[in-house]
Point group: D2
Chain length 233, copies 4
């Protein structure tokens, strides 16, 4: 992993793949330890991976490990960090002053009336008024944050004024099994648009790093009716 | 666990103990499965618990499980949910409108110059100006949130304007081993004051529910120089 | 949980339910924290549980916790303890002498030629010869174990001679989510018969303790073609 | 990681380092994400690692991941697999016939009378008689295993006759934090000799791969009076 792959996400975020251990062949090797068998051909290895996923034999996928550097808004990070079988190191707003970086949506979406947790695009919304309202709140938050700091207030307290749209950064280390669980949940059409943008970026890197596993993963989940958008990324 | 114990924390928060499985005797029983021995007296059971903790035999403590209902600001919840060996169910700001409840500090603390992540009380700070500045940001955030909702903007987007001082709620289920780890880290004098307030409330409930374990835990950690504040709660 | 429920398994084993935190109603309460809603009727609560399972919203099930005392052969325990999201305290063969208790199958099964990991009943097998052969090995193992102990050899070394059919005991604490994962894997027709016997006993206790969740769990998995045997227990 | 490092352990076992992600520098980078600071010199990086360990800031160590291929007796594997924050893929005795490989101790140790779980070397023990007794049990177990297989008995049942001294194999993937926990527990003088032999081999590989972390780890634990044997390896 000599070069770092970076994908820009949203207006100021990114996902960088900074490390990888294993890959498709490591899945095959780990599975063959269990079965006491030898690899004979690429085609059989590919079929083995599909077989493992289809039959919920997930442990061989735990020996391939991805490492990402992520920059995203706090409300996205909060969902992300609910994934417990993985490791995070995040910038601390107690140690360091947070830069003036909040997520600025291109357009606001309206409430989905059928799906209580969702949103839909709407031409009827007065975007300009919404954006103005949002910007005013962002400026007031930032203004208070900086003013409090300049008065000598501790960083850990000044941050109370920051909005959940504030960008943060972290390292994320996760094995391929847990990553697939992340993708299945966060690429789902019920996930929030901003979260799906990040999951899509991760998914593209996963597809390049472990093409056989990715193909089997997509086929498997599409078949079951969920993750139907998998191939779009 | 017929009655719910509640402790108020900060200006609008609380911790409620809503369930408990096990207790000191369960620790003893689990340990005695391992050792194949029988309990002979309360005194010996108490000593066994102290022995287990002192020698890092933590597994018997995993069979006592606590369940809490917590209400705290987002910046506290974010630290809390980094504790992976436990279970959370939090109110979703995608599903429901967030009530107008932000944390209102009684006084702002200034930056600790020695401890880069800390804060200290300071008589020199102009509290009135700081509070006014903070309140203005809170009002702007709330105003934008409500205005966006009234325009039809989806809850999942309107929440971008909410500050990290916004109160949230969740269920937290955690075993006594993981709980002691939580307390050791979050009652430490390097933890943020607001976090320590919650850890202190949890600690009091833990002390009542598992008095032998609590006593051993405090003795053990005090001895090693950390968690020196344990007995204050 | 005043009385202990016990189910005998295999020739000398058992499963005892020794503790329970939560239940169906706790699942509903945890989910309603997320959705910010109120329970209105039993029927709606039941439907909510089915909805949660069908849509892979598993976190509300983590707030119900089961505690078992299990006695089973080592080869069963080894599969069981691969379930990481749970807690174990097992009798230590370093501390205590293991009693003379090995699993004695009623009949040996022959190798399944289609399913490389499976076995099938076979009338053609000479059971008497097989049992005699097995008993001789059991006697030799036990003889060596006892002889070594009587010579003063340490328990931790004498145990090397014990067979994987040796019975062991442990406490197992597990939440309902992890328990369902256990059941889905260990009640599957590809699981070893002896493992399935234990999973079946656990399943019966789960069904009594959380009938709504159990019903939804079975329906859900049956539908997808796996865990087709669920309702047999 | 082009070459595989292998260390022989006990009479027929081994530990092979087959993969590594990260290292000392990755710990430093992960920590500096949190603190928002830049590395200035090797000496400061080394001091940062020592500081992190001394203050129980373990999360930066989770971004370095080790992968081992292990061959060890079942009674060692059983202790090993209790380490839940790691991944295993083990050879299945249901799929494949187990080779004739049992652990043959060079000498039997006698029961430690002070430490109930321990053992000590003893010149008084009649080693020849002990070894003969052990070998007879091994031969009876192996004989029954092979006889049952030759009769057509399923592998999953024939294995009941195998002893806990039988060698097994597995892949083990573990991050540096969990690895240090493993070493602290398994290199401890209270751990069984055979387990300590494996922990020692792992420790040597860890020391070469992450020399700064290893040095800090040993210093830290020695100071506290545990893991006093750390520097011997």
């Amino acid at each position: 992993m000599d070069e770092t792959t970076e994908v820009k996400v949203l207006d100021k975020g990114f996902v960088r793949l900074i490390g990888l251990l294993g890959g498709d062949q490591r899945v095959v090797q780990a599975a063959r330890v269990t079965y006491g068998s030898q690899s004979t051909s690429e085609d059989r290895d590919k079929k083995l991976i599909a077989y493992l996923l289809r039959n919920a034999h997930f442990s061989p996928f735990e020996h391939s490990v991805f490492q990402f550097h992520v920059k995203c808004p706090l409300f996205v990070a909060r969902q992300w960090m609910r994934h417990r079988w993985s490791s995070f190191n995040e910038v601390s707003a107690r140690y360091t002053e947070m830069p003036e970086e909040v997520y600025q949506p291109q357009a606001f979406r309206v409430q989905d009336l059928k799906n209580k947790q969702g949103s839909v695009a709407a031409s009827s919304l007065d975007q300009q008024t919404a954006l103005d309202e949002y910007r005013r709140a962002m400026e007031a938050s930032r203004g208070a944050y900086e003013k409090l700091l300049s008065m000598g207030v501790a960083r850990e307290m000044a941050r109370l004024a920051l909005p959940t749209s504030q960008y943060t950064q972290y390292y994320w280390t996760v094995n391929a099994r847990s990553l697939m669980n992340f993708l299945a949940l966060r690429m789902d059409e019920h996930a929030q648009f901003e979260m799906r943008e990040y999951a899509g970026a991760i998914s593209g890197m996963f597809a390049k790093a472990m093409p056989w596993t990715y193909e089997a993963f997509c086929g498997n989940f599409t078949e079951k009716g969920s993750l139907s958008k998998c191939l779009h990324f």
